[in-house]
Point group: C2
Chain length 307, copies 2
């Protein structure tokens, strides 16, 4: 079958290319390490050609891309769609770049919304995952990552509001560069320590910058082994996040919260959400490519009548 | 006049030695860079001798030390006194080490207390500052630093409760190693950005790990210049801390909160506390040495009848 487009999931640290057929089916996928932060001298052509120059030459089909490639540090800065945001609106707000002879790369816009006190919030890439994940109407979704997103999706996949929590980055900074990390041993999973941390964080989101210090004092007082501290800290930060986000979204306990993303992180959020009295479900895998297919249909790149 | 002891303020990054007379008066002070974290192969003798070997040889007087020198990473781990903690109790819980012929170094214990949900909290060095600062009865004190302390001091300088907020460390990690720091320009003071951050943090302590993300989006949306971002982030974190600690200590707005420490940091807390409707006052300078003198009197090293 003839390909219709190349899907690029181009993030901070990695790049994934997928060849998509005219009917929206996946033909072939490839991964590489050529993330936006690894690109030197703004030479984005090199990692692009390395991963799929043969496809571009052979098929001459367009490219649809999402993720940090559209950020200020990316190839070109794509705008943010204001909420409420839909796949159709995204398909009409591509930022298009000619990347080879007669071949265009269409970068999907990010999404922005107004948060507490009119501070801004932004996402770039997660909107595409949500649109591909087959999320039902009126769903609350959680996308764990460096900057975790809580996203409310209304009817017809409309993203109406979201909030970012810096949980993943804070965990990385505190363990890799902070004083807490010096007391820790890494590599052992400690579910009990994780749950103890979640319980503490869930109770005291309003004391976030205080309760993280418990990951130091628990060690100083010999109440926790060095190998338990990373999961204890992870639990505290995730517990704080779940309690904070619950206060914003007031989720209906009878409807599952949809988790989208990395398996290990989703498991942590499953536990924390369950400890907070909430049900969860996992989204289907491969959400990003499916999101690209959906947006490509809206844009007329893939036949709208295809499955 | 004959010296009675050598006071050592031996912290993470610096070392300060002061020669104290029999009547408690300060005779001479010296500073060096030989903080605990700069010591190689646990050779603490070298920085000690570098700063005051002549005093030790000439006077043979004892040494009284406080700070990270008594931590697990220090010369020897000194215990923590449980709250309520007094200068007299500290003077009877020295950890003593012979550091030269007939010369003992007495390390002042740290202080611990039970925090929210029975998590532990600890301080090491700040207790000595408080005892030297001449704090009145029933005072709430704030000691800004890497790990900020809020300390309640009852009658007779008794430390009854305290809480640590990791504000200083989080600011350092986010600006030096985090994604937020990449958008920032340092070196310019921006009081307006600081106050905007404080206002946001004061309103939303229960959204701490969310509102810090505003320091990224304010830049992405071109609402703040790169030079304003460090003070904006500092304000958000300090605002969150003040709101969190206020909920724990419910300070009486008619009584000033006592600020002890570095001038620039104290100024930031003065502003944030005033924005929170609280009055402030500064403690006297040189609180650490005065704390050593007070504890040395309790220990009989300095004549108790001295001024």
């Amino acid at each position: 079958m003839k390909p219709s487009f190349i899907s690029l999931d181009w993030g901070t640290s990695s790049l994934r290319a997928t060849l998509v057929a005219a009917d929206g089916a996946i033909m072939e996928s490839r991964s590489a390490a050529g993330g936006v932060m690894t690109v030197k001298d703004r030479d984005f052509h090199t990692p692009l050609n390395a991963i799929c120059e043969d496809w571009i030459d052979m098929h001459g089909c367009p490219i649809v891309a999402s993720g940090m490639i559209g950020s200020r540090q990316g190839w070109v800065e794509a705008p943010y769609l204001a909420c409420p945001a839909t796949p159709a609106a995204a398909a009409h707000a591509f930022t298009t770049l000619r990347v080879a002879d007669k071949v265009d790369m269409h970068i999907i816009p990010g999404v922005r919304c107004g948060g507490v006190d009119s501070i801004h919030d932004v996402m770039r890439g997660e909107e595409t995952q949500i649109w591909g994940a087959g999320v039902g109407p009126q769903s609350l979704c959680v996308l764990p990552g460096t900057h975790n997103k809580w996203v409310f999706v209304d009817d017809n996949s409309t993203i109406t509001h979201f909030a970012t929590y810096m949980t993943g980055e804070l965990y990385g900074l505190l363990t890799k560069h902070g004083i807490l990390g010096r007391l820790m041993e890494f590599g052992t999973r400690d579910d009990e320590a994780f749950r103890a941390g979640v319980a503490l964080g869930l109770k005291h989101p309003e004391q976030a910058t205080h309760v993280v210090f418990a990951a130091r004092t628990a060690r100083l007082m010999d109440e926790m082994a060095p190998a338990g501290l990373p999961d204890y800290l992870s639990g505290i930060l995730i517990g704080v996040e779940v309690a904070s986000a619950r206060a914003v979204y007031l989720p209906d306990a009878s409807r599952p919260v949809v988790l989208i993303g990395d398996d290990d992180l989703c498991r942590r959020y499953e536990w924390a959400l369950e400890m907070a009295g909430l049900r969860t479900e996992r989204a289907i895998d491969g959400a990003t490519v499916l999101g690209h297919v959906r947006i490509a249909k809206e844009a007329g790149i893939v036949d709208r009548s295809a499955h």
